[in-house]
Amino acid sequence: MTVVESAPDLLSPRARRRRLLRRRLARRPLALIGLGVAAAFVLAAILAPVIAPYSASTTDFDALLAKPSWHHLLGTDELGRDIFSRVIWGARASIQAGVLATGLAMAVGVPIGLVAGYYRGWIDPVISRLTDVVLAFPFLILAVGLAAILGPSLLNATIALGVGAAPILVRVARGEALALREEDYVRAAVANGAGDLTILFRHIVPNMASTLLVQATVTIPTAIIGEAVLSFLGLGVQPPTPSWGVMLADAQSYLSQAPRLAVYPGLAIFLCSLSFNLLGDGLRDILDPRTTR
């Protein structure tokens, strides 16, 4: 009797792993929904000029605080601006802050954490203590303080949020590097005479990529909410540029007349942040099945 090997078993280990991850993802509908909604928000931010029915600043003085209609799907604000369009345009500030702040936090935090965890010695306690110092400041207090130093703008709010989130990335990267440097394949590379850079970038960084990916996915919603908070407080995006935080701040004055002004931008922040959290949770389960309960 001949044993016919099934075709997938001929796949390389990397392709097999990819196939396994795809199957695990397909078994997690919530993570898939998260991925879909998050992708929709990113697309809305990129395609805002195409899909928004009006520009963010077009005013219609004949329709101030108008109720939802076919002309204005979600109604208009106190200046007659289309809320639906402003929510779409507002995605730009949020997604930009979420993605760039997370990118900045990774760019700053991961190399520092790698150095601390891989080299250890005197540098590790120094970096760890400095991380503790930055973590001693509550996240929003630190972001508010930095935004105050840098001045109110979307870019500065993004920088403040990125710097505020970096210490967590330092800790995650350090922890991973500490564990990975003891692995057999790293020891083998050392024995083979591989240099530090080769070991770091060929063996350690690729093996911590999944942990970093999960961490990035959960940092994005924190930064999105952070941007909204800073803009709400007047320390982020400045009017008339649309931002969900600025829209909520404006809505405060019209809570009794037009509560819907406060509903839609908040709903957008909530759905956007929830989608990334669902995706992050799903990715964690998929990439590290030990954490699944």
Binding site: F137, L140, V144, I149, Q252, S256, P259, A262, I269, R293
Partner: protein, 317 residues
């Protein structure tokens, strides 16, 4: 134990010292000349030079820092733009925020622990999915939006609760609670989600542990197994988590107080930044860092008392 305590206190002191340097330098990096802010309408260079001299602003930075730290250690955080003592302003505002945070912790812990226990005991059942999903919603919902929605629902539409403001407990306990209910729920929502997740995870660990199996084998009722054995051990982990959430609560208080018009420590922070009041910014940021570090230290110490293994693990290699 003594060695562990000494090491932890020493590390906390170093962190605080470095944090104070960061606060000092950070405030010096703020745009604008503090002498101009202190001088009010005065623009005369001679007067401004005198102000710089009086406040020691013309001295080298290390000297300024040493002088400032000396005052801080004596409880003197300087005076704000209105010539009021920063320490006094903080001491008046802090109890309001502590009350808010306290109520938020009570709300968040009770809800989180209850939901976590139910989710763990009914693992894989609809109750578990409901609690887990609600926790995810609680983690994703922006505090300030929840606050605005609650104001619309309970203050504007139903007229059940006041939309904002603060009445001290001593003045009228009932009115105090009426004003604090919504802010405490808003601030406690995120905490309840974190506590629920930790509680569920800790309870699942406990329910699978040998001592729980032994308790069941002895014929104890399920209520006693869950309530006494599993719950008690899980609470240790969850208490630690609640302590570590203090930083999140302080951050949350900033925005919650802004929404509900409560003149607490969080509102003071935003006012200080908006008014570019350097001494006040320095004071509030320093006090929040000290509070955070001290609470973390206490949590560590209490945890090590409850769980002796941590003292051995914490020993440096």
């Amino acid at each position: 134990m003594g060695g562990f305590l000494l090491r932890r206190v020493g590390a906390a002191l170093i962190v605080l010292l470095l944090a104070s340097i960061l606060v000092f330098l950070g405030v010096r990096a703020l745009p604008g000349d503090p002498a101009l802010a202190l001088g009010g309408e005065q623009r005369d260079p001679a007067v401004l030079a005198q102000i710089r001299h009086d406040y020691g602003l013309d001295r080298p930075l290390p000297v300024q820092y040493a002088r400032w730290l000396g005052h801080v250690l004596q409880g003197d955080l300087g005076t704000d733009q209105r010539k009021l003592s920063v320490a006094h302003t903080i001491v008046t505002r802090l109890p309001i925020t502590l009350e808010l945070a306290g109520l938020a912790i009570v709300f968040g812990s009770v809800l989180g622990i209850l939901a976590g226990v139910i989710a763990a005991v009914r693992r894989g059942k609809p109750e578990d999915y409901a609690a887990t999903t609600l926790a995810l919603v609680g983690l994703s919902v922006p505090h300030f939006w929840l606050g605005l929605l609650m104001i619309v629902a309970f203050a504007v539409d139903l007229h059940w609760l006041p939309a904002g403001g603060y009445v001290s407990f001593g003045h009228s306990p009932i009115q105090n609670l009426e004003h604090m209910v919504m802010p405490a729920i808003v601030l406690g929502t995120g905490l309840s989600a974190v506590v629920m997740r930790q509680m569920r995870s800790a309870m699942l660990d406990s329910l699978g542990a040998d001592y729980v199996r032994t308790a069941r084998a002895k014929g104890l009722s399920e209520r006693s197994v869950v309530g006494v054995h599993a719950l008690r051990n899980s609470l240790i982990t969850v208490t630690t988590i609640i302590g570590l959430q203090l930083g999140v609560l302080i951050s949350g208080a900033v925005i919650t107080e802004q929404i509900f018009g409560i003149a607490g420590f969080g509102r003071l922070t935003i006012d200080a930044v908006n008014q570019r009041d350097y001494a006040l910014i320095q004071g509030v940021v320093l006090v929040s860092a000290v509070g955070y570090v001290v609470v973390n230290l206490l949590v560590d110490v209490v945890y090590s008392l409850l769980n002796p293994r941590i003292r051995i693990v914490a020993r440096p290699a």
